[in-house]
Amino acid sequence: MIWTSILGIIALVGLARVLGFAKNPALDTDTARTVVEAALPGFVATAAAVDPRTRTATVTASDGRVAQVMSHGDRWVVRG
């Protein structure tokens, strides 16, 4: 039962990879602004600095707030 479940997990995860569900989208300033504004209500992004190597960004708001964007698989995580 346990080994069947583990093999099932490996098979489904492997299939997901084979089917191409393994994107690592690039992060640009527009994406960083959009992601932060969607995640933090009232955040109006005025500037964004992207590090393409680490796929992270720092976004500044008009009220002085600062938010970080980091990659998480094919999605983004915002801290701010």
Binding site: I2, S5, I6, G8, I9, L12, V13, G14, L15, A16, R17, L19, G20, F21, A22, K23, A38, A39, P41, G42, M70, H72, G73, D74, R75, V77, V78, R79
Partner: protein, 301 residues
């Protein structure tokens, strides 16, 4: 009701169908159906589901014993008939609503339930992303009233399994809307997508398990608005696919907040307050985020 003993574990019987449906959805999405997968997210969801079944093995006997003990205090003796089964199913779903609403409003309960909401994807594997720590959050206690009323323990466990099975299929983007009468009565993929949204508009809405009428009755219903796509996940998403981190991150945060609390009220709120509450007022509870959204929406009109 004959056959209840033979169907005592409907979830085990349904598991092959779960796997087959995940396969079908994955291929359908690849072929163009609405939805998305990420293999890392799939790994986390499936591993959480596996760990949840292991936790059920570890704690299951204790829960059944607790149910057996509660059943000794029954008010009535309800027979194992079809009508008792139907009544038990409906009441179980009402209690599920109470559990689910509590799981979003009380941090101790949220610490277990947050796992189910920790994916930024919404597909059939999200349904399997279940907690490992539900026993400590006392989620099983919400079904005790059924036993005190007088429903048979086997019947309660059976309908609980049916409820869980029903909720599997609503975790999909591939199904848009059911016919209107069903959308009015049942929890559907559309209603449950709303429940998994982190948009302020959708926060803490649509708690129903099988029936959405509980949300309509108790004022927590929100319809999916196609003009505002659901942003799946948490207000503060976790940045890890590690199942151990996923399983424990909110418990760790509770411990951190307990240590930092400077008053008994702060300690109490760290455990029993709403998720997002902070003593300095800088936290974002779902109520605060929704009120802010409503104010901004009203201001824009």
């Amino acid at each position: 009701m004959t056959g209840v003993t033979a169907l005592a574990d409907p979830v085990a019987l349904a598991t092959p169908a779960f796997i087959a449906l995940v396969l079908i959805e994955m291929v359908a999405v690849r072929l163009g159906a609405r939805g998305d997968y990420d293999w890392r997210d799939t790994f986390t969801s499936l591993t959480m589901g596996f760990g949840s079944t292991m936790a059920a093995v570890v704690f299951g006997a204790t829960i059944v014993a607790a149910y057996g003990a509660a059943a000794r205090w029954h008010l009535f003796v309800l027979p194992m008939t079809w009508w008792a089964g139907a009544l038990c199913f409906v009441l179980d779903d009402l209690l599920y609503y109470a559990f689910h609403r509590s799981a979003h409003r009380v941090r101790w309960f949220w610490a277990s339930h947050v796992i189910h909401h920790s994916s930024q994807h919404y597909n059939l594997t999200t349904a399997l992303r279940q907690t490992w720590t539900g026993f400590f959050s006392l989620s099983f206690a919400f079904r005790l009233p059924l036993l005190l009323i007088g429903f048979d323990v086997r019947l309660v466990l059976f309908v609980a399994g049916i409820n869980l099975i029903y909720q599997f299929w609503v975790h999909t983007e591939a199904v848009r809307r059911l016919p209107a009468p069903l959308e009015w009565l049942l929890n559907t993929p559309s209603h449950h997508r709303v429940h998994h949204g982190s948009n302020p508009r959708y926060l803490d809405r649509n708690y129903g398990g099988v029936f959405i009428i509980w949300d309509r009755l108790f004022g927590t219903f929100e319809a999916e608005d196609d003009a505002e796509p659901v942003r799946y996940g948490l207000v503060h998403n976790i940045a890890s696919f590690n199942p151990l981190v996923t399983a424990t991150h909110e418990w760790v945060a509770i411990l951190r907040d307990l240590r930092a609390a400077r008053s008994w009220r702060g300690r109490w709120m760290a455990i029993a307050g709403p998720p997002g509450w902070r003593a300095d007022g800088a936290g974002n509870t779902a109520d605060a985020l929704r009120a802010d959204w409503l104010a901004r929406t009203a201001g824009a009109e």
